[in-house]
């Protein structure tokens, strides 16, 4: 269902509020049918709030967006799918090592996807978030130096 919507009905995301409604539906389904996943999502959110100077904002594609300033590090959908921007070289490496999946919509981009299924996945998710955060911060530093 989620795959079908994000691949075939992606154009609907341009309609204001619709992605948020869809994500709320995903979140309700997670709450009702998959409590370990919900616990993992919550623990992950709390962990990164404690560790990073992160701002959480509603994401344009639904879910929670994690930002440092105006730079998006990644976002977490209501079904536990974590999307992070790590750049193409890091993406290839993480995917090759089996630590993450290619992005569920743009597999050739610098984005990766990771499913948070239970609290056991949090350590891996945090490690990926660390890479994404470093990549984004370093990228900013490089661009400032230029």
């Amino acid at each position: 269902m989620f795959k079908f919507v994000v691949k075939k009905l992606r154009w609907l995301a341009r309609i204001p509020v619709l992605p948020q409604l869809f994500d709320a539906g995903l979140m309700i389904a997670t709450m009702l049918f998959d409590r370990p996943r919900l616990r993992a999502m919550e623990m992950f959110e709390n962990a990164i709030r404690r560790k990073y100077p992160i701002q959480r904002r509603p994401h344009r594609f639904g879910g929670v967006g994690f930002f440092i300033g105006t730079t998006e590090i990644g976002h977490l959908h209501g079904n536990g799918l974590l999307d992070l921007f790590v750049g193409r070289s890091f993406r290839a490496e993480q995917v090759r090592q089996g630590r993450a999946l290619p992005h569920h919509v743009f597999p050739e981009s610098g984005w990766i996807s990771f499913w948070l299924k239970s609290p056991a996945d949090i350590a891996q998710a945090l490690a990926l978030f660390e890479i994404a955060s470093m990549y984004r911060t370093t990228g900013q530093l490089i661009s400032r130096a230029h």
């Binding site: 204001p16 509020v17 948020q20 994500d23 709320a24 709450m31 999502m41 959480r56 904002r57």
Partner: protein, 320 residues
């Protein structure tokens, strides 16, 4: 739970419902304003145009605003997602119960509307929990006018939905046998098997008719005493029966939500001893969002058709 915490929870709960009620009353006032003030016709048209955008209490805008209002009051409580969810369940149940007891709204309509109220409202809660905790909350609040415009535009762009529902049933009996039960039929004894009928939605019970001629008065009687008064407008023996609905019952499930215009039975003789019975209903739907309520209208109408058509099938096949 401390008293202060409980107070904030209740404040959120009350605020959400107050927002919902205020929105609904604002829509009603907006609709009545041009008549009361006596605006010139052009201004009245313009105003009416705006009212049409806003009058239909959109089940996207209102619940989302309710959810955002609740999240505003709950922002300092550090709720887990599960707590947000549970408190929103309670908050969102107050509106339908209030509408049922205070405004005598139909229970089935409220039951149908509740999922969309709940989901849209919870989306508002999820948005609110991020908007009001973020340091850039003021900037993020710019999403709210966008939400407002999007929802109002939805109301403006779509006019009342006119539609027709059609159902077909194959009956193992000739058209002459089927026709005997199309114009009118004795009471349906079988209990309804549609789940909404089991929770209170009226289901058809019997039909009476003055006779098989154009202009004949016909009555479709439902199991809770509701009566649709109809008049036969077109008749071709063993082929077609069309009737106009001249008076719809004043039932809260229908009032202001749905107008039924016409019904029709068509018989197609398959020349093999069987008959295809087609039932059609024409209606206008006044509810928003249309895509959601139209789906329900079609589902409910189809079940009403099939209950009558299955009964006709049983009677006609038994006669054979």
């Amino acid at each position: 739970m401390t008293g202060r915490r409980l107070l904030r929870i209740i404040m959120g709960l009350v605020a959400a419902n107050v927002v919902g009620v205020v929105f609904c009353f604002a829509f009603i006032l907006l609709f009545q304003f041009p008549d009361q003030v006596g605006l010139p016709s052009r201004a009245q048209r313009w105003f009416y145009g705006f009212a049409v955008m806003a009058i239909w209490p959109s089940l996207v805008l209102v619940p989302m605003s309710m959810g955002i209002a609740a999240a505003y009051f709950w922002r300092s409580l550090f709720f887990s997602l599960w707590e947000y969810f549970l408190w929103w369940v309670i908050t969102s149940l107050i509106s339908p119960f209030g509408a049922y007891f205070a405004f005598k709204e139909g229970a089935v309509c409220l039951l149908i509307g509740f999922p969309i109220l709940f989901v849209c409202g919870f989306a508002g809660v999820l948005l609110g929990r991020l908007l009001f905790k973020s340091k850039t909350a003021a900037m993020n609040l710019s999403a709210i006018p966008v939400l407002l415009i999007a929802t109002l535009a939805e109301g403006k762009m779509r006019q009342d939905q006119r539609g027709v529902v059609e159902d077909r049933l194959l009956i193992d009996a000739p058209a002459s046998a089927v026709w005997n039960y199309v114009v009118s039929f004795p009471a349906i004894g079988a209990a309804p098997n549609y789940w909404l009928s089991k929770v209170g939605l009226p289901s058809p019970l019997a039909t009476t008719c003055q006779g098989a001629f154009v202009g004949a008065a016909r009555e479709c009687i439902f199991n809770n005493g509701l009566v649709f008064k109809e008049r036969v407008s077109e008749i071709t023996p063993m082929g077609l029966l069309t009737f106009e609905i001249v008076e719809q019952p004043h039932d809260p499930e229908l009032l202001g939500h749905l107008t039924l215009h016409r019904g029709q039975f068509q018989l197609i003789d398959n020349n093999d001893g069987t008959t295809t019975l087609i039932g059609r209903s024409w209606y206008t739907l006044h509810m928003r969002p249309l895509w959601y309520f139209d789906w329900w209208t079609r589902d409910v109408t189809s079940h009403v058709h099939l209950r009558v058509m299955e009964h006709i099938k049983t009677l006609a096949e038994r006669e054979r």
